[in-house]
């Protein structure tokens, strides 16, 4: 009885296994049939001839075709005397490699990397594969990234020059707001960035509800985008000026005119704030794994600069808010006046000026 049960179990297990095998090979068989239809190679063998995973034909070897690979690449350094077919993968015919028949990639590409295909090269790729390939092609090289960075820095410098010349009072107002309370500017800037899209949405909905205003929606969207970009740029330049003045605002700067010192500060600050990006490009060449860390740091620096600047721009009402200057701080104070009560005023003694009272707002 026990033997009977074991035999039945074995039979069931065998049936289950064979069923699983049949299920596993069915998609592959379908794919192979598609390959036959695509290539016109009607005499391709069945799934038993398919290699699953990447396969390499070494240099100096000759393999009788067809060679069929599924779910991996076929690297041909040697000689395939017949057709090469890859299902869901690429065919690479490397230097010295030869395919004497057709080279077919279903769900992949055929790349001639110095090799030769005597027959037809045929491939079928889906839109997602094409998009991935396009994205791959779009990835910038390190040199291109360096060139883009240089272009961005030059553009920022140009904008800095124009802004300093054309709108220095505005830049002054935003910078002073930053000096007053950087943390508050950062917070307001962050909230402002969060509100950018909702405000535009509300404005558009409002225009649509008026029906007549629907025509204005595209104009408003473009104008809003330009205005937002302008405010963000102005904020960044104000932060750059602050950084530049902080680093090199000593004796040399005092010898310059106000606008000259401001321009110099903007230039220096812009270069300083974009330096982390240059480091990111440079670090990647010697330490690719650490590149993302530097990119993260550079992104953080840029974000803080732009956000705080944006907040200061909003708080200063684009530099139009009057700057509150401490009268006490600007008045000349006799160093010993506190110690010399005068009979004229009849005051027994004055308070000694302290740092908090002199520099208070």
């Amino acid at each position: 009885m026990r033997r009977l049960v074991l035999a039945a179990a074995a039979l069931l297990g065998l049936a289950g296994t064979s069923s699983l095998v049949a299920q596993d090979t069915r998609p592959l068989a379908r794919r192979l049939e598609q390959a036959r239809g695509l290539s016109g190679l009607t005499k391709l063998p069945g799934v038993e001839a398919v290699t699953v995973g990447t396969r390499t034909i070494p240099a100096g070897t000759t393999v009788k075709g067809p060679v069929i690979v599924s779910g991996g690449a076929l690297d041909v350094f040697g000689d395939i005397d017949g057709d090469a077919v890859v299902l869901d993968g690429d065919v690479f015919v490397r230097q010295g490699g030869v395919v004497r028949g057709q080279a077919v990639a279903l769900g992949g590409r055929v790349t001639l990397d110095g090799g030769r295909v005597d027959g037809e090269i045929r491939s079928l790729t889906s839109a997602s594969d094409i998009a991935a390939a396009a994205a791959e092609r779009r990835a910038l090289t390190r040199t291109e990234r360096g060139a883009v960075l240089a272009g961005v820095v030059l553009l920022a410098l140009l904008l800095g020059i124009v802004t300093t010349i054309m709108a220095q009072p505005v830049l002054d107002g935003v910078s002073q707001e930053l000096e007053r309370d950087f943390g508050r500017a950062l917070l307001v800037g962050f909230l402002g960035e969060l509100a950018l899209a909702p405000v535009l949405g509300i404005a558009c909905v409002g225009l649509v509800l008026t029906l007549v205003g629907i025509l204005l929606v595209p104009v408003v969207v473009v104008a809003y985008a330009l205005a937002a970009a302008g405010l963000l740029t102005l904020g960044f330049l104000a932060v750059a000026r602050l950084v530049g003045a902080g680093l090199w605002g000593g004796g040399a700067a005092r010898r310059l005119s106000a606008s000259g010192a401001s321009l110099r500060a903007v230039m220096i600050g812009t270069v300083v704030l974009t330096t982390p990006w240059a480091l990111a490009v440079g670090v990647g060449t010697v330490w690719p794994a650490g590149e993302w860390l530097v990119v993260l740091a550079a992104s953080g620096v840029t974000w803080v600069a732009v956000t705080a600047g944006f907040g200061a721009t909003l708080l200063s009402r684009v530099g139009a808010r009057p700057v509150r200057v401490s009268v006490v701080a600007s008045m000349p104070v006799d160093q010993y006046a506190w110690a010399t009560p005068t009979p004229v005023s009849g005051v027994a003694a004055a308070r000694r000026p302290t740092a908090s009272s002199a520099g208070g707002r």
């Binding site: 055929v110 005597d118 037809e120 090269i121 045929r122 079928l124 790729t125 839109a127 094409i130």
Partner: protein, 289 residues
């Protein structure tokens, strides 16, 4: 918003949403694929035998031009696999390349069209048979050895051009235009002796600019379409038209002679173009650039 305005507002909001839903549904229903097929130019292909190319393309954009060096042909086809069944076949024995797209079923609504780019070897004599439906087609035959061209167009906007003198004479040029527009440029370069052109309701423009080597005969059959022939000023032109009272002929500077209209330089011209027009309600214009 008053109560009476609310239903209208709801409809206003619902309509774009419904349109968006339909559009996204249509977009999801598509499956875009790309088929590439290229064959290297083997020494055996340079034996002077003609490469026969048969193209049948329904809707989309078609570009035909010389292939990259070392390629006999190079086909790139982007299509929606849910509605198009493509076929690219090569028969070595007859040296025939067949590129076809068949519409699979009928779909309504505006769907994005695909595109077909076909490159052909400069080194091989060609026999081209191109049939297009509603296609925007550009056939650049400059540098190709075209011996024969049959071009049939349904409702397409097509341009065929030759910018330099052909290496081999074009022994057959047959053009059929249904309701679209076909412009052939640089026919003077083609070394063609006879042009057969049929126009239904469409517009046909034949520009004979180029390096003329021999006289040309044009067999022109028009239903209710129009044909415009642009002929270099030094070429003599003769137009023989049947049922002339029903046609509209614009032949500035032409004179009546022996039942035909001839240009003023007909007797003195070194090269001559003869047009045999059979038309119902067609319009023929001969322009001198």
């Amino acid at each position: 918003v008053s109560r009476s305005q609310r239903p209208a507002l709801v409809r206003c909001a619902a309509l774009p949403l419904a349109a968006f839903a339909l559009a996204t549904n249509a977009a999801r229903a598509q499956d875009w694929q790309r088929l590439d097929a290229a064959r290297p130019l083997a020494p055996a292909h340079r034996d002077g035998q003609t490469l026969h190319v048969r193209v049948s393309y329904g809707a989309g954009t078609l570009r035909l031009a010389p292939a990259r060096d070392g390629q006999l042909y190079d086909v790139q086809l982007r299509y929606d696999a849910t509605r198009v069944d493509p076929r690219v076949e090569w028969r070595e024995a007859s040296r025939t390349l067949r590129v076809e797209t068949r519409l699979d079923g009928v779909r309504f609504g505006r769907l994005e069209s695909g595109d077909l780019t076909l490159g052909l070897a400069r080194e091989v004599p060609l026999d081209l048979d191109v049939q297009v439906g509603a296609v925007e087609a550009q056939l650049d035959l400059t540098g190709l050895q075209v011996r024969s061209l049959d071009f049939t167009s349904g409702a397409s906007d097509a341009t065929v051009r030759m910018d330099t003198a052909a290496a081999v004479p074009l022994t057959r040029l047959a053009l059929q235009v249904g309701a679209g527009r076909l412009r052939v440029e640089g026919l003077g370069h083609a070394r063609v002796r006879r042009v057969e052109a049929t126009g239904g309701m469409g517009e046909l423009v034949l520009d004979f600019a180029g390096a003329w080597r021999e006289d040309v005969d044009v067999d022109l059959a028009l239903a209710i379409g129009s044909a415009r022939l642009v002929v270099p000023a030094d070429v003599g032109v003769r137009v023989e038209a049947s049922a002339r009272w029903l046609n509209q002929l614009e032949l500035p500077g032409f004179v009546e002679r022996d039942g035909a209209r001839v240009s003023a330089n007909w007797d003195s011209a070194a090269r001559k173009l003869t047009v045999d027009l059979s038309s119902v309600l067609g319009r023929l214009v001969v322009e001198r650039p």
